[in-house]
């Protein structure tokens, strides 16, 4: 198994003919993902990397039986693309695009169909189940199949930590970048829930940062509902108040949104917390009982 994407994933790339869409479609195909279709309005009938392009999701789904999508369309049109993906039954939708308006995302997040699908992002690196499917812009070669689930609000920080896991021969079941925006589809908790239920996953790494209180909610969930060990890392202890630190959602704007508050919540919940990224792999090895 794995969560969200795997060998059964039949992926459609929304915005396949754009620069980013093209580039990452190539990479996703290369890393073994079953990319069955692309959608770009007006480009129907073309082909890219052997992938047929359609004008609409309706057509793409009808013709190819796609069940998941990744969104590369420009920010102004991303919400529309997500609605389209949800309306045509995608069970997983990954929105990579950065800069999607917050109000657009609130509308998407409150649409009834979202309750029957998992929306990852926006402003996220995507999802990868090493060796099975790569629905992401992440560098697939630093990943290796295994039993650690990773869920993160950050991209490169995830790569950093995954790379160290892989170097220690600790593989990953699935890595999920949930995105750095204030309003994202799926929060930590939903992913933790799926990892808890996934027989392949034995330990979970959670990478948080300043802004919001998703880490606190996740900590409560871990304490009350999870049996699998969780290792966490929080970034942004030195972030000043009121400044956006790269991610639109990474901003200290009150008590709960600070790294200290999140860190304290993790500790209260008895979660192993690393003080720097490299410590994460050590703590995971410990938790798995494989530390040398």
């Amino acid at each position: 198994m794995a969560i969200l994407v795997d060998n059964d994933t039949r992926l459609v790339v929304q915005g396949i003919t754009g620069r980013e869409g093209k580039f990452h479609t190539g990479r996703m195909v290369e890393s073994g993902t079953n990319v069955v279709a692309g959608v770009t309005p007006g480009k129907g009938g073309q082909e890219y990397e052997g992938v047929p392009v359609f004008n609409t999701m309706e057509e793409a789904v009808e013709e190819t039986g796609a069940n998941a999508s990744v969104v590369f369309v420009p920010a102004a049109f991303s919400a529309d693309a997500i609605f389209e993906a949800l309306d045509f039954g995608m069970s997983t939708v990954c929105c990579i695009t950065e800069g999607v308006p917050v109000h657009d995302m609130m509308r998407v997040a409150n649409y009834w169909r979202i309750r029957h699908a998992t929306l990852i992002g926006p402003n996220c690196p995507g999802v990868i189940s090493p060796g099975k499917a790569n629905v992401s812009i992440m560098p697939a070669d630093i990943f290796t199949p295994g039993n650690v689930g990773v869920v993160s609000r950050s991209g490169t920080l995830t790569y950093q930590i995954v790379n160290e896991l892989t170097q220690r021969d600790i593989g990953q079941s699935t890595a999920v970048g949930i995105g750095g925006d204030p309003i994202i589809g799926t929060d930590f908790i939903e992913i933790l829930k799926q990892f808890e239920a996934d027989p392949e996953t034995e330990c979970v790494v959670m990478i948080g940062e300043i802004g919001g209180n998703a880490e606190q909610n996740a900590a409560e969930y871990v304490q009350s509902e999870m049996t699998k060990p969780v290792v966490a890392y929080i970034a942004g202890f030195t972030a000043p108040e009121g400044k956006t630190m790269g991610h639109a959602g990474a901003i200290v704007s009150g008590g709960e949104s600070t790294a200290e508050a999140k860190s304290e919540a993790l500790q209260r919940a008895g979660i192993r917390a690393a003080t720097n990224p490299s410590e994460v792999a050590e703590l995971v090895a410990e938790a798995l009982g494989t530390s040398s």
């Binding site: 490169t156 790569y159 970034a235 400044k243 790269g246 990224p277």
Partner: protein
Amino acid sequence: MDLYEYQGKELLRQFGIETLEGVVAASPEEAKKAAEQLGGGTVAVKAQVLTGGRGKAGGIKVVKEPAEAEEAAREILGMDIRGHEVRQVLIEAGAEIASEMYLSILVDRTEKKPLILFSTEGGVDIEEVSERNPEAIVRIYIDPLVGLLPYQVRELTFDAGLEGDVAKGVGKVLGNLYKAFTESDASLVEINPLVATEDGRVLALDSKVTVDNSSLFRHSDIADLHDEEAADPEEQRAQEAGLQYVKLDGDVGILGNGAGLVMSTLDVVAQAGGEPANFCDVGGGANADEISEALDIVTANKQVKSVLFNIFGGITRGDEVARGLLSALERSEISLPIVVRLDGTNAEEGREILAENTPENVYTEETMLDAAKKAVELAQDGGR
């Protein structure tokens, strides 16, 4: 993007919310003229800054006549309030205030819905009210697909114990404020205090409006309000270059790729006993132009004594990153010590390339921790 009080009020008025009459002034003379224009009686002279706490800092003065307004403006203009220079004041007419309330709408990240906060305890910090007397705050979530429903307006006024004209007035303001919030793509609209006057009107005495930056493409009128002069010059330059840059107080300049990695780098520098001078995310690529521009911006800050460049090679491989960095260094004339830490795909090859070709002021390290320690050490040694 934050709006000044006077800009926020202009927006509120566009959506039918009443405010006091006011005029913006950039000099004591203008302030005097404004006070005369408002009838020559009592006015408030209010510092226009994109930060809170101006009241406590002496940025608001109530005066009785135009000459006093001029004097007050002279004192307030040029003030530094939490790092923000006061360059304008709002001269505002007085009003007979019967009660002060608090009303805001913000984006609730957990519920993914607009959240309305209301309290009859206005004019004070709402976080304080929230801690001291959480019951005094009415909270109502709005489904963005349904919008604000009449029953929710009633719920707010009943729960807050409002009655008569004030209940009606607050209900009307709320309807208009929700419209302003959604139609302006705001992430926050706050009126504190929202006041009821002796003659039964309900009006906004202050305004705090933050508009979602990602939405500015469809709000050119609001985007035009962006105040370039108020921004730090390096932040302004970084923004133009498409870099994510935040200036801080320390002496270790920091660059890296990816927001999370850079935030983490700042933390690790602090743990090593240093003080980060900035946050700077150069993005995913290894484009020499971008790296060189980022290095220039980071080192333009005269406090910087050493630079830490923390790169994780992902899709862009370590060797390419190394070459991009070298090419950027060749072009710039930075003499400050630069610690490069390169990890990820092809990191070893990248480090080798750097080792063979770098100028004297560039040091390479294998781990973030070692790199941070080195950069802190170099900064403490005095840098340039």
